[in-house]
Every structure is written in structure tokens, then in C-alpha cells.
């Protein structure tokens, strides 16, 4: 099909969900990256733009702005969590989202849009104030790029992450094979401040001098290094929540220190607020946030809205009375093993 046969501009926008639930934030990041990746590979000249200018809006089900957008003439692509017919909307995309789904979607919607040009009759309401607040900060750019590759489904797809226009990290999906440029290996923090772009590669061909780096460690280390302070929550980690471990990180590969083991063990047993986690493990607030960010980056943590408030002035509650001998034995064993 000749994409130039109509005056219809092919403009598309991904609408950030108004409520940032854990899974939606993650799907949003993934979709955002897939759209950028597929943009140049479709049969049609798609332009990515703001919601206000878009003919096609990809929106999460439950978003209360969808009706407004739809009634203004825009095509809606509904992101849904289970495969079922869309209520009003012709186009849907269902979790778990794969890059090939996005490619197919852009081709199908492009064909439809050229055959049925849309007239936008009203400007939708402006973006909710939460969009700007929760947009990834510059210092999260590297981790966002690595996380997108980690989440990609096809192990054959290779990516390069560029810093200032030069490839510096070479990755495959699930981070099964990672290499880093020699000059950045010992100065990883350089990457944090560089201008980051990721792109797919036809051939996975890092230079011979590139150094093999463990994928999990790369993701983990990026999250820890990116966390600047106790309030610096990663964009994909829901705020005002309590957290519990879903799956364990490989603490052996991460060469975990005692405090990390304590934190992860506490999270494995129950939902806790960051403040409770800090209190239970005797860590500092920045360290707690860094670990939560790292677990979130690896998809190992579950969050649900917090109903309890923990005052910063609250003293740690006295621990439940433990069997005296057992606690003493644990202390003694730790001392003996130099843990």
C-alpha cells in the first residue's frame, strides 16, 4: 500500500495511565519503548506525538478520558489485561505485550486510518497533573533503557545502548548476554550522566575489547546507583504503597552483604512500608529506597496501596518476644561465622 495516497497524517500517542498501578506502569514503559522501536519498521510513516495532536491514542482500560478522546473522533487502541472483545473500540492490545503485537497493530491501524481518515472535532482535556510528576527523571534514563531490554521477549533481539551517540552497552533480551565498552567498565557512573538512547541491532556485534557483564548485576547496580536519596522512587515503583517480595533476587550472583539479606528476607515474609523496612533491618532510608527500586526494576516486588501511615517520629515497636535461647543462638552463630 502506498502510504502517501492520503493527506491523513498518521499520528499516534500513548496515554500515560492516570492511576499508576504497578503492572500498568511497567506495561506503559514497555509499550512506549516498543512503539519507538517499531515506528521505523512499519509499512506506514507513523509520527509519535502528544495526546492532544494524535489521531490514534493507545490508552489503558479504565482511563476515564477515553470516552472524550473517542467522541472527538480519535481512534482508540485499548490496552487490556485479558483477551475479550472491546466494548466500543475496534482495536485492542492485550497483556503480555510483545514487540510483534505492536508492529502488527501499527500496520493494521495505519491501513485503517488511511482508508478511513479521522476528523478531530474537539481538543481533549489537558494531561493530568500526575504525568509530569511521574515522568522518568533524567537520571533514570539508563535504567529505563536497560529495563526495557530486560523485559523484551525475543531472545534473538539485540540492542545497543548509546551514550552520546556511541554504542557503549550491548544487550540481548532478558539480559542473557551483556557486554560493556572497556572504557565504561570501570567508570560505570559515566553512563548515568550520558545522553542515553537504545536501538535494536541487526547483528549483535560488540567489539572484541568489550567486557562481559552479568545482566542481573547490571540492572541491579544501575538501580542502586540511580537512587539519589530516600525520596528518589523509580518511575515504575508505585508510591504510597506497601511492598512484598514476589521472587528472590540471586543474592549469590549479587554478592549480597548481610543487610541486603535481612531486607529481602523481611520483604519475603510480609507487606511492609519503606519506613517499616528501614526500622526492621536497621538500614538507612536511602539504602531502603535503592533496594526497593532495584527489586522493582527486576520485577521481583509486589505493591499494593498502603492503608497505614508510619510517622517518622514513631519509635520502632518493641519486637515480639522471641524465644530467648534461639535469638541468642542466632547472634552467637553470626558472630562465629563472621556474618
Amino acid at each position: 500500500m502506498n502510504a502517501g495516497s492520503s493527506n491523513q497524517r498518521l499520528t499516534i500517542a500513548l496515554a500515560k495511565p492516570t492511576k499508576t498501578l504497578n503492572d500498568e506502569a511497567h506495561t506503559f514503559d514497555l509499550l512506549d519503548r516498543f512503539i519507538v522501536m517499531c515506528q521505523k519498521k512499519t509499512n506506514y510513516p507513523w509520527e509519535i506525538c502528544d495526546v492532544d495532536q494524535a489521531s490514534v491514542i493507545i490508552a489503558f482500560e479504565g482511563d476515564n478520558r477515553i470516552e472524550d478522546w473517542h467522541s472527538s473522533g480519535r481512534i482508540i487502541v485499548l490496552v487490556q489485561n485479558s483477551r475479550r472483545p472491546g466494548k466500543h473500540y475496534h482495536f485492542t492490545i492485550t497483556n503480555p505485550i510483545r514487540v510483534m503485537h505492536v508492529l502488527d497493530l501499527l500496520n493494521t491501524v495505519g491501513e485503517h486510518l488511511l482508508a478511513n481518515p479521522v476528523k478531530i472535532t474537539a481538543t481533549p482535556t489537558s494531561k493530568p497533573s500526575t504525568v509530569q510528576d511521574s515522568a522518568p527523571g533524567e537520571h533514570w534514563a539508563l535504567l529505563s533503557a536497560i529495563k526495557t531490554v530486560f523485559d523484551a521477549s525475543s531472545p534473538q533481539t539485540a540492542f545497543a545502548i548509546e551514550a552520546n551517540g556511541q554504542p557503549k552497552l550491548w544487550l540481548t533480551a532478558k539480559l542473557s548476554q551483556c557486554k560493556i565498552s572497556e572504557d565504561y567498565f570501570n567508570n560505570f557512573s559515566q553512563l548515568m550522566s550520558a545522553k542515553i538512547q537504545s536501538k535494536t541491532l541487526e547483528n549483535h556485534n560488540p567489539p572484541e575489547s568489550a567486557i562481559l557483564i552479568n545482566g542481573t548485576e547490571l540492572l541491579w547496580r544501575s538501580a542502586i546507583d540511580s537512587t539519589q536519596n530516600a525520596q528518589d522512587r523509580a518511575p515504575w515503583l508505585p508510591g504510597n504503597s506497601i511492598y512484598k517480595l514476589k521472587r528472590w533476587p540471586d543474592l549469590g550472583a549479587l554478592r549480597a552483604k548481610a543487610n541486603l539479606v535481612r531486607m529481602v528476607s523481611t520483604l519475603a515474609k510480609k507487606y511492609v512500608t519503606p519506613e517499616e523496612l528501614t526500622q526492621a533491618t536497621g538500614s538507612d532510608n536511602r539504602e531502603t529506597m535503592a533496594i526497593l527500586n532495584a527489586l522493582g526494576a527486576c520485577g521481583l516486588i509486589d505493591a499494593k496501596p498502603s492503608e497505614r501511615q508510619v510517622s517518622s517520629q514513631t519509635q520502632a515497636k518493641p519486637a515480639a518476644k522471641k524465644p530467648e535461647g534461639f535469638s541468642k543462638m542466632i547472634k552467637s552463630l553470626r558472630r562465629h561465622l563472621n556474618i
Binding site: K246, G252, M329, I330, L333, I339
Partner: protein, 179 residues
Amino acid sequence: MNKSEYKIIFTGPMGAGKTTAIGSISDIPPVQTESFNNDQEVHSKATTTVALDFGQIKMDSEYVVNLYGTPGQERFSYMWDLLADGAMGVIILIDGSRDDAKDQLLNFTKHFAGISSSSPIIIGLGYHSNDVVWDSDTLSRTIYDEGYALPIFTVDVRAKEDVTLMVDTILCLIEAAEE
């Protein structure tokens, strides 16, 4: 004065490194019940544990932690149940360079989770050759899909710090459960 005794179990298939792991942290030379290995199809090592391995962490005059290694072969599984009864934790060791590591992991996890749901179970994943057939992430997802959210750590059981990481995780999980 009578000492309070506790125990940690090291289990896993033949050749996974149970005897070595106990030796890494034991304060006494491990007591071994090795016999000629007539299961060469399962593993090519010359001898294997037929009853149990035994080591001890002797902390002070009050406490001692006994370290038991189970025999690897499934035909000795009656020993697994006897040894695991009352243990403060179980460490399952798996060789990730073997093709059947996933099946072995599932067998041991199901068996020991069935003995005691309250004792922490830690999985140590080692590689006895350079082939990484199974990585920790894949195995972690596998047991998670079976309903077990257990820690799987890549370890070298010859290194004391790797074995103490697993022991410390048992201690942390016990403490977290008590809070």
C-alpha cells in the same frame, strides 16, 4: 552444662557438593559415610554418601549447630525425612550444568517443602563444569510457577562466604517470621 543443639540439612542430588559445603563451614573434619559409587550412570564420581555426612559448628559452651548431608540418591529418601525432621533450615544444592537440574530441583523442593513448611529452604546453584545449562533466573521462575517462592543463589560451595550466605538467609528468614 548441656549444649543446645540445632541442625541444618544439606541435600540435593549426587555430586551437587553437599559434602564440600559442609566441609566449608564445619569446625570439625566432616564425618563421611562414603561408599563406592555404583550409580555411574547418574554421576561419574568414584564414591558417594550412602548414609549421611556430618559436620558441626561449635560456637561456644552453650550452642552447637549440627550440619547433616543427606545421601543424594532417591532410594535413600527415607534418610531425608529422618534427617530433616526438626531442622532449622534446609539447603538444597543443585548442579546447574546438568541437563536434568530442573527436574532434580523440583523433586527435592517438593519433597522437602512437604516435610516441613515452616523451615526455610534455600537453594544453592553451582556449576561443576563450564556449561551453564540452567541459570538461576530460569530455575527461580520454574519453581515460582509451581508455587514455591524460594531463594535460589548462585554459589561456589568451596567458598566459605557462599555457604555462610545461605546459612545467614536461613537465620534472617527465621527472624523475619518471628517479628
